[in-house]
């Protein structure tokens, strides 16, 4: 295999003596929380625009209120999603530094879209939320703002997932040259379908859960709660079946080295287990499909099943890391060790050499010329940017003229490249000019 791997960072990984499984579980747990918020962000922002449109066309106040209420989970999940995205990145970039940074570099500058595109979408989603009442009579414009925000949010997962797919498959570092080489692959396609379907299914469950709470609160919120429960079930039941079918396939779309090894590990059962959990949840909701209300305990059960499915997917994804990274990590460690041994040997030899080298006594005028930057453009015997000092001395100009040229700058005597005026004391100028004139 044509491996192209960077060296590891030559500093110890600060594990504090904690075992590997601790970091593995930490990585999976923080990732699950992150992705749960991101699912909610994608789904809730979509729902808010969707029910806003329904509200206009059906002239339904309940739909409009549901749309407005969905801006709160949007705000919370966009903030918490960004925040909890930091933790997995932190864990990954300390454990798999070389692979992660290589992948990020390979998909640059497009990866910066997850910063600037995100800021744009964030600001629009705030504009959408906070202008709800003032733009009440300009629904078309208002919906347009929300729609642009949602569509911008939709552009982020393809970019991020391309990076993540590349970093999970270090054998591709040699062949992938730009983000498109990895984005336009079956793997990214399957994973994106899986991502969006899970996001909508997850949001369905969030809507059911919120709906149950709103019904309980009673009053004006009761009708919205019923609508949320009804719609939440439909969101889940539309999104889940395709997802159930596609989920196990995702894990076979990785490069052959990874997929073949993956089959022989217990991780291979996890995507099927995740599908099974989603299937159970599907029938659980099907049974309650025509109920207008749902008990809090049923809503909680649905939420628990959904989170279990997401956690199983995340663990299955961690399995890819385990399978994929074993060999390149080993290769990287060996290469780094060899490189660093050579580097340190040479560094020590160099230090020894410097210690034994006779001290060079420089003419104070030469040190002064160096510290003032003269030697950037002049040397004693070769013309560089400016003439050599030998040439200057041979021309035979007086010390006064040379001092004036030095202090005020000069052009034309030696060509059209100007010498800028230099700041120095009279004493320093005298030392330098005397030294220059000695160079004949």
């Amino acid at each position: 295999m044509n491996w192209k791997l960077p060296f590891d960072i030559p500093l110890v990984i600060p594990t504090m003596g904690l075992p590997g499984w601790f970091f593995d579980s930490l990585g999976v747990i923080v990732f699950v929380v992150h992705i749960a918020f991101i699912y909610t962000l994608i789904g809730a922002s979509t729902a808010s625009v969707l029910y806003n449109i329904f509200g206009v066309f059906k002239k339904s106040k309940t739909d409009d209120l549901l749309a407005y209420k969905m801006t709160n989970p949007t705000t919370i999940s966009e903030n918490m999603g960004a925040l909890w995205g930091v933790a997995p990145l932190l864990v990954i970039s300390v454990l798999y530094t070389g692979f992660f940074y290589t992948a990020i570099l390979k998909v640059s500058p497009h990866i910066l879209h997850i910063i600037y595109g995100n800021i744009f979408a964030f600001l629009l989603s705030y504009a959408y939320k906070f202008s709800w009442h003032s733009l009440h009579h300009h629904k078309g414009f208002h919906i347009a703002i929300g729609l642009v925000a949602v569509l911008t949010f939709y552009t982020l997962p393809p970019v991020f997932m391309s990076m993540s797919n590349l970093y999970l498959q270090p054998e591709l570092f040699a062949s992938v040259q730009s983000i498109w080489d990895i984005m336009l692959t079956p793997l990214t396609f399957f994973r994106l379908i899986n991502f969006f379907l899970t996001a909508f299914a997850f949001t369905g469950i969030v809507m059911i859960y919120l709906g149950v709470k709103w019904v309980k609160a009673g009053g004006e919120e009761e009708a919205v709660g019923r609508l949320a429960i009804d719609q939440g079930k439909k969101w889940f039941m539309w999104a889940a079946p395709v997802n159930i079918a596609i989920l196990p396939l995702v894990f076979f779309a990785f490069s052959p080295r990874i997929s073949e090894a993956y089959i022989h590990t217990p991780f291979v059962f996890l995507p099927f287990a995740a599908s099974a959990v989603l299937l159970i949840l599907f029938f659980f909701l099907l049974k309650r499909f025509s109920n207008e209300e749902m008990s809090l305990s049923d809503a909680t059960k649905s939420m628990v099943l959904m989170v279990v499915a997401v956690a199983l997917m995340a663990t299955a994804r961690h399995g890819i890391r385990v399978v994929s990274f074993a060999e390149p990590l080993q290769l990287q460690a060996e290469a780094t060790e060899k490189y660093m041994t050579d580097v340190i040997t040479e560094y020590k030899a160099h230090k020894e050499e410097m210690k034994n080298a006779p001290a060079v006594v420089l003419d104070p005028a030469v040190s002064l010329a160096d510290s003032k930057g003269c030697l950037a453009c002049h040397s004693v015997d070769t013309a560089l940017v400016g003439p050599s000092y030998k040439e200057v001395a041979a021309k035979g100009e007086s010390a006064n003229i040379l001092t004036a040229s030095l202090k005020n700058g000069s052009i034309g005597k030696w060509g059209e490249t100007p010498m800028p005026p230099q700041t120095l004391t009279d004493e320093e100028a005298k030392t330098l000019i005397e030294w220059v004139l000695k160079q004949k």
């Binding site: 192209k4 964030f122 003032k372 059209e416």
Partner: protein, 464 residues
């Protein structure tokens, strides 16, 4: 040593790409979050204590502005710092994460408190404003938000301090002659510019946030249709000006204290950092810039304090602009005076570690540049690919600070130079005139190639 794929930013260069994100982040995180949390919590407490409900409502409107900016632009440019560092200096950020992993992890936990408290404070404000117990609890939330904001600054300032002054009383943070390097985490954390940096940043952030609050109070109250809100202008501006009267001098004093902790060589580069090389000798210009910024802040603070009602909008914007200039200069200077290093005495600005230099001088910089095309790595016998190889060397060693033909472009910098002049310059880096440039690393043949490439930049399109 640069063994990662090479990313170049044409025209604006990597430095500017980083600076756009970094300076935006500093404005928002210092002015909006760290200082803003303190200033708004104080204002909420004060208006509530005085029973000034219109003022309390104006503070909510201010909080809304700060909330929108900090949670979007502030938070994401914060993550952006990391992503930008990933693509610009992966070796440096990779090293920093190995050294500061747990501190960053703690910081992330504190971030959770910060974000949750801010969301909670903002989203429950209206509901809690109805009762006095509710308001008291809301003010407490604001105070906790301010504390957690400040702790995040405390931690990140340690990392910034480390990059500039990694050594503490001559005690190394790592032994460069050992692999894998065992880090002395205490020496790395308790570096000499940490606490001075925190103090300087804390008080200048509060002053900056107060200036922002004055500007936004002006805007929100002037354009409000509610007369009661309009009347809060005078009271609130005076209150924020009072915060500035206290914090501006304290920030200046701590700024001076911070300056004293910076290494001599780095301090000597401040004029170049502030005014670029062309004006580096014009000390009076530098003093004019400093006193101009300082004077504007002091003058507008006095206007705001003594004449809050009649304070013109232009004074409020001038005040904020002076702070923006201050932060821009502060960040640029702090980044620049570290040169030629990225982590002082450990890693050069281009990601090459000091320890790597003797070995790479022997085998060449391109030997381990794994993501570079093979044909651009070794000079052919007939030297037909000399310029391509030189270009590769430039992409590795010069990329961090120079573009080909944009900002700080090699082409313009060497216009009119002969190949001998360029070769001499490369040979004598850093040199007295440009102490901020990293030395050339690599073999003599690579040096020739680099010189040939640079000289070719000004010869393109020339008829032979």
């Amino acid at each position: 040593m640069f063994d990662f794929p090479i990313f170049e930013m044409p025209t604006i260069g990597l430095r500017m790409l980083m600076a756009i994100n970094a300076i935006t982040h500093v404005f928002v995180s210092h002015g909006g979050a760290v200082g803003g949390s303190v200033v708004l919590a104080l204002a909420a407490w004060w208006t509530n204590k005085k029973g000034d409900m219109a003022g309390y409502e104006t503070v909510y409107r201010l909080l809304m502005v700060f909330f929108i900016i900090t949670t979007s632009v502030g938070a994401l440019t914060g993550i952006g710092m990391w992503i930008h560092a990933n693509i610009i200096s992966p070796n440096a950020i990779g090293g920093l994460i190995r050294v500061f992993f747990w501190k960053w992890f703690i910081e992330w936990i504190v971030f959770n408190f910060e974000v949750v408290l801010l969301l909670f404070w903002f989203m429950t404000w209206k509901q809690k404003a109805l009762t006095s117990e509710g308001r008291a609890s809301s003010v407490r939330t604001g105070a906790f938000y301010a504390i957690s904001s400040w702790i995040t600054l405390l931690i990140i300032a340690a990392i910034l301090g480390f990059m500039l002054t990694p050594n503490f009383d001559g005690q190394p943070w790592v032994d460069p002659e050992v692999y894998p390097g065992k880090v002395n985490y205490d020496n790395a954390l308790f570096n000499p510019t940490w606490i001075p940096g925190v103090l300087m940043r804390t008080f200048s952030s509060i002053a900056f946030a107060a200036a922002l609050a004055i500007m936004w109070t002006w805007i929100l109250t002037t354009f409000s249709k509610n007369e009661e809100i309009q009347e809060t202008k005078e009271r609130l501006i005076k209150f924020f000006a009072r915060i500035m009267l206290f914090t501006v001098p304290v920030a200046a004093a701590f700024g001076y204290y911070y300056l004293l902790q910076i290494p001599e060589a780095a301090r000597a580069m401040i004029p170049t950092a502030m005014m670029t090389r062309a004006f580096a000798d014009k000390m009076d210009l530098m003093h004019m810039i400093i006193s101009g910024i300082g004077g504007t802040v002091v003058l507008t603070t006095i206007i705001a304090y003594f004449s809050p009602k009649r304070m013109p909008y232009i004074a409020a914007t001038l005040m904020v602009s002076a702070f923006l200039l201050f932060w821009g200069y502060e960040e640029r200077t702090r980044e620049f005076i570290r040169k030629p290093y990225l982590i002082y005495n450990y890693m050069y600005a281009n990601g090459i570690r000091v320890t790597d230099v003797p070995y790479l001088n022997k085998v060449g910089i391109l030997k381990h540049a794994i993501f570079v095309n093979e044909k651009d790595k070794v000079i052919n016998k007939d030297k037909s690919n000399l310029i391509e190889v030189g270009h590769t060397v430039a992409r590795i060693e010069c990329r961090a600070c120079h573009t080909e033909n944009g900002i700080n472009g090699l082409k313009a910098l060497t216009a009119g130079w002969s190949e001998a002049a360029i070769r001499n310059r490369i040979n004598n880096l850093p040199g007295g005139g440009t102490p901020y440039m990293a030395p050339f690393v690599g073999t003599e043949a690579e040096k020739d190639a680099l010189a040939a490439y640079i000289v070719s930049l000004n010869k393109r399109g020339e008829i032979k």
